[in-house]
């Protein structure tokens, strides 16, 4: 381990600071920036119709850009934080995150959006979605628990697996109470991926995978899920059969994307987008904007950009010099990969409608910040591996 306990910032003069820029995964960084800029364009297109009568039609876009700026700064910090420091403080980060998750239930603090009580009101009309930070916290906590005190070649003990599973299930349980089904699904796949890649015994992987599926089925069967949640989950199968709001959304979204054809109606020219036919198309349904206005070509470019980010994340996970780094990167791959699939999939009618944003693209400050922190963590793991290999 080449790092010291003090943060890198303090040792800039030592000459190693130049290696930070050299060791960065530039392809990852450029792809992340490209996706973010692409996303801003879509947010601008989606919000200009809603904001047409506002005093400043660009105010929504401006807020989005500020969120990006904050996210990039947080990502930069995440990339420079010392590994050991991060591991040492992970329990505190995790604890803080769980407390934040409980806050939306407090009256006067929490806000319900789209049926999910998952937001904290902030002054100035801003909101914070603690479940986004919880994704980072769960990944860090599980990585710590599964890589603690053991030889990298040895498989994790059952106790470690159980502990890490517990660390995942606590926030998952709280988020389930918030009715934020989409985040639960994402966190579940993150937890499963981390445990699998940690080298845990195969029966754990198969058992957990089977358990998750049985759990979902039981939840539906025994009525743990409310009717509208079931409807949301199943309306994607036949959106025309159900006249509920989520079916309407699914139908309008599919029409918008399908109408795009090869190259779309042109930016700012999509009739469905500009006519506000697709609800929340600046956040959860933002893929409909690229689908309608930029067509199949634009949609493919966006999916390929996310693909590049995920490819670099897999490479970083593979080349990580310790299990901790690998598990952090693996968690991020599962998070971004599954959330992207779920989000885009729901707009195209192959996944159930759940309220989760498209990483780096959707408007929504907390998600933007959390995703940039993830990008920063990936860079951190890579830089760590690069230095270890000197």
């Amino acid at each position: 381990m080449a790092s010291t306990f003090t943060p890198d910032v303090a040792t800039r003069s030592s000459g190693r600071s130049s290696s930070y820029w050299r060791d960065l995964d530039w392809i990852l960084l450029i792809a992340a920036f490209a996706t973010t800029i692409f996303g801003s364009m879509l947010v601008w297109s989606a919000s200009r119709a809603d904001m047409a009568s506002a005093s400043d039609p660009t105010s929504y876009l401006k807020r989005h850009v500020i969120n990006i700026a904050v996210g990039v700064v947080l990502g930069f910090l995440a990339s420079r934080i010392d590994y050991r420091w991060l591991r040492a403080y992970t329990p505190i980060i995790y604890g803080a995150s769980v407390i934040l998750l409980i806050l939306p239930f407090a009256p006067g603090i929490g806000t319900t959006i789209a049926g999910a009580r998952a937001w904290i009101d902030l002054p100035g009309g801003m909101t914070l979605q603690p479940s986004e930070f919880a994704k980072v916290a769960v990944i860090l906590m599980m990585a710590v628990l599964l890589s603690e005190k053991r030889d990298v070649e040895a498989e994790p003990r059952d106790r470690d697996v159980l502990l890490s599973l517990g660390a995942a299930l606590l926030p998952i349980g709280i988020i389930l109470l918030q009715n934020d089904t989409g985040t639960v699904l994402v966190l579940g796949s993150v937890a499963l991926s981390i445990i699998a890649v940690s080298g845990a015994r195969t029966r754990w992987v198969i058992g957990l995978f089977g358990g998750a599926i049985i759990g979902i089925l039981l939840a539906i069967q025994l009525g743990f899920l409310k009717q509208y949640q079931v409807q949301r989950l199943t309306s994607f199968i036949d959106p025309t059969a159900d006249a509920s709001a989520s079916a309407y959304n699914a139908n309008q979204a599919r029409i918008a994307i399908g109408g795009g054809g090869w190259s779309g109606y042109g930016l700012f020219e999509g009739p469905q987008t500009q006519g506000k036919f697709v609800p929340v198309n600046e956040s959860d349904f933002i893929f409909t904007v690229v689908g309608e206005e930029l067509g199949f070509i634009g949609a493919t470019v966006l999916i390929v950009l996310v693909g590049v980010i995920l490819w670099r994340a897999v490479v970083i996970a593979y080349r990580a010099d310790d299990l901790y780094g690998r598990l952090v990167a693996t968690g991020i791959v599962a998070w971004l990969g599954f959330q992207t699939f779920e989000n885009i999939g729901m707009t195209m009618g192959i996944m159930p409608i759940t309220g989760i944003p498209l990483p780096l693209v959707s408007a929504g400050g907390t998600s933007m910040m959390a995703t940039w922190i993830a990008i920063g963590l990936l860079q951190n793991v890579r830089i760590h591996a690069a230095r270890a290999s000197i």
């Binding site: 119709a49 990298v152 070649e153 040895a154 498989e155 991926s193 699998a196 890649v197 940690s198 080298g199 992987v205 309008q252 599919r254 029409i255 918008a256 994307i257 399908g258 109408g259 795009g260 054809g261 090869w262 009739p271 469905q272 500009q274 006519g275 506000k276 036919f277 689908g291 309608e292 067509g295 199949f296 949609a299 493919t300 999916i303 996310v306 693909g307 995920l310 490819w311 897999v314 996970a317 593979y318 990580a320 299990l323 690998r326 693996t330 791959v333 599962a334 990969g337 599954f338 992207t340 699939f341 885009i344 999939g345 195209m348 009618g349 192959i350």
Partner: protein, 712 residues
């Protein structure tokens, strides 16, 4: 790191890659393979069509005088969208508007209700148009009210006043011409269904008015123009966000009629005079018609029908009471081209041609006794006068029925008498068909009647159709009638017994009646006018026309309708020559002499034939006067008839004379071509000039026929 970890990471990578691949495949399926379907869904989702109606084209007479015009009317419209956005759903606005327009809020609400919605009144009260189109709630609003509404915009959100074009009849020279012009009515469900799922901009829409009859119907497409279409993008709340595309309306074109307004007004007045003459003689004089045709082109210069109606009653929808009156008066159909009447002696020209077809000597001597007996039945001459042996020319002049009876009897016997088959020769019926009787003339007006040519074939077909009824009646013996009048029942029963057994037979009586235009033969006055026009022009069969061409509103000629020559009439040329030589004598020395006493026949010889057709049940005969002039250089043919009118010469003749006087500029016994009712002593050779502003240049000396203030 462990192999297991590496492997599982690889599995995760492959899984994520396949998920992204799935997304691209799904996008390809939705956007490329099914894209067209979704594009259509977007259009119907986000686009609305707003129709700006095209101004309907005018109908002009042959000199360019507007017969049908548009006048502007102030229309108050209400935009339902704006009203719905009001806090009280627009109730206050409607209350204020009702007070301004002297109506009730309920009436306005009824008007605004889209047809087919709950509680909506049936059309035309409910609104049949698009939800995005402002609904007209009041027509002919006075300017002051409209201005007040426009000034107090804040009190009347969504209410607007605009100018609308409404059909108007300037009636130059007080012309009526209702049956030629036709009228407009709301588009029918059948018409809408007939065009299927058309998307053409000029397709019919539920709010459209279309021509129902006459020229308005025949040339509806030309007159209607193409409405302007604006496609607007709307948002999910239905607000218009932008204009997608816009096409300006193309105004309807001007239809130029062959009718001359001045002549038409005279013909209408003379027809009325003839009817009054009939009534003055104590006859019914219930209906009548008159046709003036240009014999060298087949163009109809005037065509009148009695009774008629005021065409303006259709504007804005006819009331039930008005419609009932129209039907009760038989005023809706034109007697000139939709009425079918026995032609009487005017048919003798056809019989003469039939005789010529049968190689009879047109210049021989024929006996004109007071009656002819065939098969024990006696057929009397008109008023039973006998002229002895006379030429065929003289027989036409004095309209001797028995000469034609004799001819018909001889032909009938030669054909095989009562036992001749249905396809045995029948020269008179063949001549009638050759002249165009028994079939449509092809005039450019809808709903023409074709008349009937009595013949063996017709008799047989008729028997086939009716024999079951006849035979049943013969068996039952009219039990209802028998209760009150056993004698009449006996007569009916005997008649039907005979009809039942041999009603298909072309008997001598049928042949004799057919030869003098009686019996089953019926014609329209228009058909008769075309027969005399054909004789006049030497045998050319023209298709009559009432439209001459189309001029667009900016003045360019877009279509000219040349005369349509259907061919030569299939009768011997000698017959046409004989008739042309004989018919002037009717006016100078025959049955047409009286009405033309004092007319300068030397300068303008008139060929004519009178007719007094007996109609079963009518006390008085149908008065016919068929003619053309000048006989030596034929220009015009005129046919006039009045039912229950008396004789042709007494009732119709004087009116026909007056029309000739007008046409040729006759004053006393002098002729002044410059004083002809037709400017330039002839129909206009070309189409009238329309100025760029849409007004029409009327030729010098023609006169507009309307007070200056109304000239448009």
């Amino acid at each position: 790191m462990s192999e297991r970890s590496n492997l599982r990471l690889l599995v995760l990578a492959v899984l994520v890659a396949s998920l992204l691949g799935t997304l691209i495949a799904r996008a390809f399926y939705l956007q490329i393979l099914e894209g067209r379907q979704y594009q259509a869904a977007i259009s119907s989702n986000t686009e609305r069509e707003i129709v700006e109606p095209a101004v309907r084209g005018l109908i002009l007479d042959q000199a360019g005088r507007p017969l049908v015009n548009n006048r502007t009317s102030v229309v108050v419209t209400v935009d339902r969208q704006t009203l719905a956005a009001e806090k009280d759903d627009g109730d206050a606005v409607i209350r204020r508007l009702a007070a301004m327009l002297d109506t009730t809020p309920t009436k306005i609400r009824d008007r605004l209700a889209p047809c087919g919605t709950e509680g909506a009144k049936p059309p035309p009260v409910c609104w049949n148009g698009s939800a995005y189109q402002p609904v007209p709630v009041a027509k002919d609003v006075d300017t002051q009210t409209a201005l007040t509404i426009m000034e107090k915009r804040r009190d009347f959100p969504g209410v607007s006043a605009s100018l609308d074009a409404i059909r108007e009849y300037p009636a130059p020279f007080n012309v009526n011409a209702a049956h030629i012009l036709g009228y407009l009515g709301p588009v029918t469900e059948e018409q809408l269904n007939a065009q299927g799922d058309s998307n053409a901009p000029d397709r019919l829409r539920r709010t459209d008015e279309v021509g129902r009859t006459g020229l308005e119907a025949e040339y509806d497409k030309i007159l209607r123009g193409v409405p302007g279409i604006r496609h607007v993008a709307v948002d999910t709340a239905g607000r218009v966000t932008s204009t997608v595309d816009e096409v300006a309306p193309k105004p309807g074109e001007y239809l130029v009629s062959t009718i001359d307004a001045k002549l038409q007004s005279i013909v209408e007045a003379q027809l009325l005079a003839a009817v009054r003459r009939a009534q003055a003689q104590g006859y019914g004089g219930k209906s009548g018609a008159a046709v003036v045709v240009d014999v060298q082109t087949g163009r109809i210069l005037a065509m009148a029908s009695y009774p008629t109606y005021d065409p303006s009653i259709w504007i804005g929808g006819v009331s039930k009471k008005q419609y009932k009156e129209l039907v009760a008066n038989d005023a809706l159909a034109s007697n000139a081209y939709q009425g079918q009447f026995a032609p009487g002696s005017t048919f003798k020209v056809v019989s003469t041609a039939g005789a010529a077809k049968d190689k009879m000597n047109l210049y021989g001597i024929y006996n004109c006794p007071s009656s002819v007996t065939v098969g024990g039945q006696k057929f009397n001459n008109y008023e039973s006068s006998a002229y002895g042996p006379i030429s065929l020319t003289r027989a036409l002049e004095v309209s001797c029925n028995t000469v034609f009876y004799g001819i018909a009897k001889r032909m009938w016997q030669e054909e095989g008498g009562p036992d001749a088959g249905v396809d045995a020769p029948n020269p008179i019926a063949e001549a009638a068909t050759a002249f165009g009787l028994g079939s449509d003339t092809g005039i450019d007006l809808p709903g023409e009647a074709s008349g009937v040519v009595a013949s063996r074939q017709f008799k047989y077909d008729n028997w086939e159709k009716k024999k079951d009824t006849w035979c049943r009646n013969a068996e039952q013996g009219y039990p209802e009638t028998r209760k009150t009048n056993p004698k009449l029942a006996d007569y009916f029963t005997a008649l039907d017994k005979e009809n039942c057994t041999d009603g298909y037979q072309w008997r001598a009586g049928d042949a004799l009646n057919a030869a003098i235009g009686q019996g089953d033969t019926t014609v329209t006055p228009l058909q008769m006018a075309m027969v005399y026009a054909t004789i006049a022009n030497g045998g050319k069969l023209y298709q009559p026309q009432v439209a001459k061409g189309v001029v667009s509103a900016d003045g360019t000629v877009s279509q000219e309708f040349p005369p349509i020559l259907k061919g030569r009439v299939d009768v011997p040329k000698s017959a046409i020559k004989f008739l042309r030589n004989s018919l002037p004598g009717v006016t100078t020395d025959g049955s047409g002499k009286t009405p033309f006493l004092g007319f300068p026949l030397k300068k303008i010889p008139v060929a004519s034939k009178t007719g007094s057709a007996q109609v079963t049940g009518n006390k008085a005969s149908t008065s016919w006067f068929a003619s053309y002039a000048p006989a030596n250089n034929p220009k015009y043919a005129i046919v006039m008839m009045v039912t229950e009118g008396g004789t042709g010469s007494k009732t119709s003749g004087p009116s026909v004379r007056k029309i000739y006087e007008a046409l040729f500029g006759v004053r006393g016994s002098s002729v002044y071509p410059g004083k002809s009712v037709l400017a330039g002593d002839a129909p206009q050779p070309g189409l009238p000039a329309v100025r760029p502003d849409g007004t029409v240049a009327i030729p010098k000396g023609a006169g507009s026929g309307v007070a200056n203030s109304r000239q448009g």
